[in-house]
């Protein structure tokens, strides 16, 4: 869908776009450079491309596709660690489908499975726990990844495993946290972001107050946004309105899902099971302080890192691959030398090509927004 006419409420979309155009005219600096708005969440990236939103916005606005796809920011070495765990004897390695195809330095989990490792795709960590109960003679390892959206589900599963006294279940914890990541982006010297679309579902868990420092300290607006195309247009409008009025505030466009205070039950479970790591390695962004969590001492019997020797392999991304620059918004995906040639969704070199929430896969699938802009009949 690339046309406003196909929106749920085309009239509303048209009037939002008209107001967005009006606001852009009030923002002086965009005569000299684009207005950079980063969507932090991969779900937004996917939606923006699917609905051709970038092409509908005035050319003064440049959307920067942020690091919010947990699969895309997995370093290669981490995939190698997973493969090593999966290839241990008597082991069932369980993971979400999204992580299966991410290339490691030698193979992906999918290839490890083809080579004979018992790798299984699960829908939920609860399914992995059930597998452990059903296979008492096997070690079942669950590869936990994702931001605060999926972190509570893993925490609850560990609490459940403890209550049920399961002894052959463990977690390879790769959960990451959004706040230090946004801070690292704001501190990065080669980046200029004028405002943010905040992630909807992460915020449903953490609420909107943790973002306050972005407005208070960095003087940038952030609007927590829904995923529906009208939600995104509405949120872009809210960010622009703040910029035009010289305000920097944290606003909540997605209040129908996101309570300002977050979800207490989820936060409690997370705090019970996890603690912050000193630092965590990201693909393309390097090491970011306090950007990941590990399991607390009290749950060590479920911690794959303590139970097994995780190789902790560090592998630099291939030279030809420019995922890091794309992630930081320094270059557009098609500027990467291997884009669409050596690197395609069928044979991904970089992780941004693996998931439909990755910027490269989105560009590959949906094309160049400048062309989309010409196509859009707005």
């Amino acid at each position: 869908m690339k046309y406003v006419d196909e929106f749920r409420d085309p009239e509303k979309a048209r009037s939002l776009l008209k107001e967005i155009n009006g606001l852009v005219k009030q923002i002086d600096f965009c005569k000299k450079r684009p207005i950079y708005i980063m969507e932090v969440c991969g779900g937004h990236t996917h939606s923006i491309f699917r609905y051709g939103l970038e092409g509908m916005l005035p050319k003064e606005i440049e959307l920067v596709h942020g690091p919010g796809c947990p699969v895309c920011v997995l370093p290669m070495g981490r995939v190698d660690d997973c493969v090593a765990l999966a290839e241990m004897p008597d082991t069932i390695f369980t993971t979400f489908g999204d992580a299966m195809r991410v290339p490691g330095s030698k193979k992906s989990l999918l290839q490890a499975k083809a080579d004979g490792a018992d790798v299984r795709m699960v829908y939920s960590p609860l399914d992995a726990l059930q597998l452990a109960k059903d296979n008492p003679d096997k070690k079942v390892v669950f590869f936990g990844l994702g931001f605060e959206t999926t972190m509570p589900s893993t925490a609850f599963t560990i609490l459940q495993a403890k209550r049920d006294k399961v002894t052959n279940f463990s977690l390879f914890c790769n959960h990451i946290t959004i706040i230090p990541t946004v801070k690292a982006i704001l501190d990065s010297p080669d980046m200029q972001i004028d405002g943010f679309l905040g992630p909807g579902h992460v915020s449903m868990v953490i609420g909107i107050r943790p973002y306050d420092f972005i407005a208070d300290h960095y003087k940038r607006p952030l609007v927590v946004a829904g995923f529906e195309p009208l939600d995104i247009l509405h949120s872009v409008w809210m960010v622009l309105k703040q910029i035009a009025e010289g305000r920097a505030e944290i606003e909540n466009q997605y209040a129908r899902i996101v309570p300002d205070e977050g979800n207490d039950e989820a936060l409690e479970a997370v705090a019970e099971v996890f603690e912050l790591r000193e630092f965590f390695e990201w693909r393309g962004l390097g090491s970011i302080d306090h950007s990941g969590v590990r399991m607390r001492e009290a749950y060590k019997e479920f911690d794959a890192e303590r139970l097994f020797t995780v190789p902790d392999i560090k592998i630099a991304d291939p030279k030809s691959c420019q995922c890091g620059e794309v992630l930081k918004g320094v270059i557009k995906p098609f500027a990467c030398k291997v884009f669409g040639k050596a690197c395609t969704p069928e044979t991904p070199l970089g992780a941004l090509m693996v998931s439909s929430e990755g910027a490269c896969a989105a560009y590959y699938q949906y094309g160049d927004p400048d062309r989309l802009r010409e196509l859009a009949n707005v």
């Binding site: 939920s124 589900s153 989820a266």
Partner: protein
Amino acid sequence: MCLGIPGQVVEISDATRKLGMVDVSGIKREVNLACIVNEDHSLDDCVGDWVLLHVGFAMSRIDEKEAALTMKVLRELGEAQEEIESMRLSGQK
């Protein structure tokens, strides 16, 4: 995995573990309801609720209209099909 999918709680299946059966477009599966239960909303109150599910956990209560709208977007993004498929596959032993 990050976008979640809407479904409706049809019954409580395991009260001590706060588990319930949810219907997602005709596929039924057991999910954890702990995040939507609190002082004002008991486990039994959850039956009939529309919820947003993330990897087998009901993360928030939504209204029916929101559920329908979210499902439409997820279908258009191709995520609903993927999510339902992996739900269906993981139901098989």
